[in-house]
């Protein structure tokens, strides 16, 4: 997600892609048949948890219902002021036995709302769905397949931008999501360093959620849950073709605000503080893959960011170190070339090549966009390191914030 994101996965992505390509050819030669797609069908509970999501809830439920046979939907209204509970109840009476609506009288936070939903289901697999996103037709089928493997605890899904072509802001995000989620997470999952399953769409083995006592207080509860499941010794995989189409912020201001919220609670709060034990070789939870995941997260989020800051400061203080203008150009060109190389695997995996190709046309400006986000990242990480900013997020209601532990 930073300027270095392009080169970062570039090599690994290309290798993964080539490997898949060769395997695909080999399979076609040996059997002549593509792999049987959906054979695993556990019971599933889709949990739609939200606050004041009355307007988008109906469309979200409609996009889920009827797409999977052993499905129940639990809607949790976290004390909304709008008509979310009424919309939820209307669907509950429209689809009795499938949709249930739980509403609490006042806000208690997303984590506890998710935990309420978990307490109300006995399904094998729990899928979290954001109330403002739409699932692709096969999304649930795609998510549950990896659970065939007993060692899989979490399945992450692809989040894509629904409003790519609204303006440049959403266009850049469209390509960014394709690169860092659709392709990036595939590679991370192959390398077994995938730390996150986005809250917008993710599948969890319910038994593990119960064993862990559910989600901890957020923000960043999705990252935290994934890391905790990894600590239990389970794997996190990626269902690349389970799509969740979500509405992206349409203004720079809203985008920066969103990223400031997302970035702060990631590496600092969860890797460097709360779950640091699992990266210590002498700790019982230690696993090499977990340490690599931490190093990956901390290196690219913190070290590279601060390296950039230190370098900029040095350049300002010592004019001798200032690179020639052509060096800037070279640097930018290398970044653009990395972006271009990364488009190859994207096109290889894409099932909507035409659409994705148009989105990919934003590539020449992507390094600049990533630079901007890197700035936000440095800002949020600094705020978290110095002031534990994520613990004052309005994302969590004040009465919960007041009593929860600070990591």
């Amino acid at each position: 997600m930073s300027l270095l994101d392009g080169p970062r996965y570039c090599v690994a992505t290309v290798i993964t892609c080539l490997y898949d390509w060769v395997c695909g050819i080999k399979r076609t030669i040996s059997s002549g048949l593509p792999e049987l797609e959906f054979s695993h069908c556990p019971s599933v509970c889709a949990m739609v948890v939200g606050l004041n999501e009355g307007s988008g809830l109906g469309a979200t439920i409609e996009s889920i219902i009827g797409t999977y046979p052993r499905l129940e939907i639990v809607v949790v209204d976290d004390g909304s002021d709008d008509d979310m509970a009424q919309v939820g109840r209307a669907y509950a009476s429209k689809y009795p036995g499938i949709v249930r609506c739980l509403s609490r009288p006042w806000r208690g936070g997303k984590s506890s709302a998710l935990n309420i939903a978990v307490a109300h289901t006995t399904a094998d697999v729990v899928i979290c769905v954001d109330a403002d996103s739409h699932l692709s037709q096969d999304a649930i089928w795609e998510i549950v397949q990896p659970f065939r493997d007993e060692n899989v605890g979490v399945v992450s899904a692809t989040v894509s931008v629904r409003n790519c072509f609204t303006n440049f802001v959403t266009w850049f995000q469209g390509l960014e999501y394709l690169q860092s989620i659709f392709v990036g997470r595939l590679v991370a999952a192959r390398l077994n360093v995938l730390p996150i399953a986005s809250g917008a769409l993710a599948g969890f083995r319910r038994e593990l959620l119960v064993r862990l006592g559910g989600w901890d207080v957020g923000p960043g509860e999705d990252l935290d849950m994934t890391v905790r499941i990894r600590r239990l010794g389970y794997r996190v995989t990626f269902a690349q073709y389970a799509f969740c189409h979500t509405e992206a912020p349409t203004t720079w201001k809203a985008l920066l605000k969103q990223r400031r919220r997302w970035e702060g609670d990631g590496p600092v709060r969860h890797f460097a503080r709360k779950h640091i034990d699992m990266a210590k070789p002498w700790h019982s939870d230690f696993k090499l893959s977990n340490m690599l995941m931490f190093l990956d997260g901390l290196t690219f989020n913190l070290l590279c960011g601060y390296g950039m800051v230190i370098w900029s400061v040095m350049v300002l203080l010592h004019p001798d170190l200032r690179p020639e203008p052509y060096a800037w150009m070279t640097f930018y060109m290398i970044s653009v070339i990395a972006e271009v190389i990364a488009l190859g695997p994207l096109m290889y995996y894409s099932r909507r090549r035409k659409h994705d190709a148009i989105v990919a046309l934003a590539f020449p400006l992507m390094p600049a966009y990533r630079m901007l986000l890197l700035g936000v990242r440095i800002f949020s990480n600094t705020a978290e390191i110095l002031w534990r900013k994520s613990f004052t997020e309005p994302h969590v209601p004040p009465h919960v914030r007041a009593v929860t532990w600070r990591w």
């Binding site: 249930r100 506890s112 309420i116 307490a119 559910g214 901890d216 007041a402």
Partner: protein, 310 residues
């Protein structure tokens, strides 16, 4: 009911139309008192009733009250107007065009030169049907149905004769099978039983853990089963939240209960929206308070006509 509005004048012609030749022949000469009875000459109409309360004829016969007291009166009828049954209903017109009714029984009659002279006492089946208890449906405590004491045909015949007026008093929700009254309560969606108990959930703020409240209760303190924090204080550390409702009868469990009817008679259970809405029909009548008022009505008629009362 006996108050007579002397300001409103009813024309003689209208009276003649309503009460026939006897009415027009009656001498509107006020009243005097003799043997405790007020002498009078007031035109009225008489309906005869069969023993089961039906009107013997839809058309009343015309009569003139010649004297009246609290519970008895004398009537003068035409030669051919002898009632076929002893139970009667009298209709006494008022000045403002209403008619007041009273139930009577015929105690004796005498054939005279000027017609038939009858003695009547207040009472009989007519008076019973005119009481409120007979006109307003009441809840039968054996079958839990709203019923009237007489057959519908009785009320129909009285209705057609213009004695009773039909009024919808209220509406009740009844069982679709047997029309008995049902109780309505929020009950199990599966079996309709009201034996449901709501389980309370507890939410520990600090760790976001949610579980049935009973799991937080230990012998000496409230303790979070997830993070093992002890001495939790409701409101600051944790909150209670409504959880699922559980049915003691069939074991069903869900958040939402359904409003369900339970028939008090046949015990059938049905969703509230499937209940039948029944109109509670009663009958309205304007009753004559006392037979003695007949004389007053006659007097006021004279006053209204411009004569000086005796």
């Amino acid at each position: 009911m006996t108050t007579v509005d002397s300001k409103s004048v009813v024309s003689d012609a209208a009276q003649r139309d309503a009460f026939g030749p006897v009415a027009s022949q009656a001498k509107a000469d006020g009243a005097s008192i003799e043997h405790g009875r007020s002498k009078c000459s007031v035109p009225l109409s008489v309906f005869a009733l069969t023993s089961d309360g039906h009107l013997a004829s839809r058309k009343p016969v015309a009569a003139v009250a010649t004297s009246c007291a609290e519970g008895s009166a004398s009537l003068s009828l035409g030669w051919d107007a002898m009632p076929a049954y002893p139970s009667l209903v009298l209709g006494v017109p008022t000045l403002d065009g209403r008619t007041l009714f009273a139930g009577c029984v015929l105690t004796s009659h005498e054939v005279r030169d000027d017609g038939i002279h009858c003695e009547i006492n207040r009472g009989g089946i007519g008076e019973i049907i005119l009481t409120e208890e007979a006109r307003i449906p009441t809840l039968n405590t054996e079958f839990f149905q709203y019923r009237l004491p007489c057959d519908d045909s009785v009320y129909d015949s009285w209705l057609r004769a213009g004695i009773l007026k039909r009024t919808v008093l209220d509406r009740v929700l009844v069982c679709g099978k047997c029309r008995s009254v049902a109780t309505f309560r929020f009950a199990c969606r599966q079996c309709g039983s009201g034996r449901v108990a709501q389980k309370m959930l507890a939410h520990h703020f600090a760790c976001a853990f949610v579980a049935p409240a009973s799991e937080f209760e230990t012998a000496e303190t409230l303790k979070c089963p997830n993070c093992r924090t002890k001495h939790l204080v409701a409101g600051t550390d944790f909150e209670y939240m409504p959880g699922d409702n559980e049915c003691d009868v069939c074991g069903w469990s869900d958040r939402e209960l359904e409003q369900t009817g339970h028939c008090l008679n046949c015990d059938s259970r049905f969703a509230a929206h499937k209940a039948v809405e029944q109109e509670l029909v009663g009958y309205h009548v304007e009753r004559l308070a006392s037979l003695a008022d007949i004389a007053d009505l006659g007097r006021s008629r004279v006053t209204a006509a411009g004569h000086v009362p005796a």
